[in-house]
């Protein structure tokens, strides 16, 4: 066991609280990112791909890039609007 340098224990062994918290945070971050990406796929498809052609046009590609940037920005605007307002 002394040869393990990482904080994660062998499979099946009980993790330390710190390792557990790390694992949970990492999984939550991944889950948040997945959800956000799924939402952006939906939103950007609706806004940018109005007439599906035989390939993605350059207009559609740049729309999608802008859409991702704007959606992330919108998330920040709303987050700040809600959580830096004390009522």
């Amino acid at each position: 066991m002394d040869s393990y340098s990482s904080s994660s224990p062998p499979m099946g062994a009980s993790p330390s609280p710190e390792a557990l918290m790390e694992q949970i945070q990492a999984q939550l971050a991944e889950a948040y990112a997945k959800e956000l990406i799924e939402t952006m796929r939906e939103k950007c498809f609706d806004k940018c791909i109005t007439k599906p052609g035989s390939s993605l046009s350059s207009g559609e590609s740049s729309c999608i890039s802008r859409c991702v940037d704007r959606y992330l920005e919108a998330t920040g605007i709303i987050s700040r609007s809600l959580f830096s307002q004390q009522r």
Binding site: G12, Q27, C48
Partner: protein
């Protein structure tokens, strides 16, 4: 009548925990506080995600290379009005 249990697709339900766990971990105060903080964070994240989704539809027509000032104010107003609406709904509901 109303199912207010957590939605099955929320981020927090996708977390997988190790199969072997020391039962004493359940009493670890650090862990308890951590879990309660993460739960709050997950709930806040869900609210932001839901509101962003609705307000995006209302405020953004075609995504540009930056937001206009009207789009920006629409988005922040939208979030606040959504919260106002939530309180109004609860008040009204409680009056029934």
């Amino acid at each position: 009548k109303f199912d207010s249990s957590s939605p099955s697709s929320s981020s927090s339900s996708r977390v997988k925990l190790p199969t072997a766990m020391d039962p004493n971990l359940a009493n670890n105060p650090q862990l308890i506080q951590f879990l309660s903080q993460e739960k709050e964070r997950a709930m806040a994240n869900e609210v932001v995600a839901k509101i962003t989704s609705s307000c995006w539809d209302k405020c953004v027509d075609k995504p540009g290379s930056k937001f206009s000032s009207s789009e920006t104010s629409c988005l922040s107003n939208c979030a606040l009005r959504y919260m106002d609406m939530t309180m109004l709904i609860m008040k009204r509901f409680q009056q029934q």
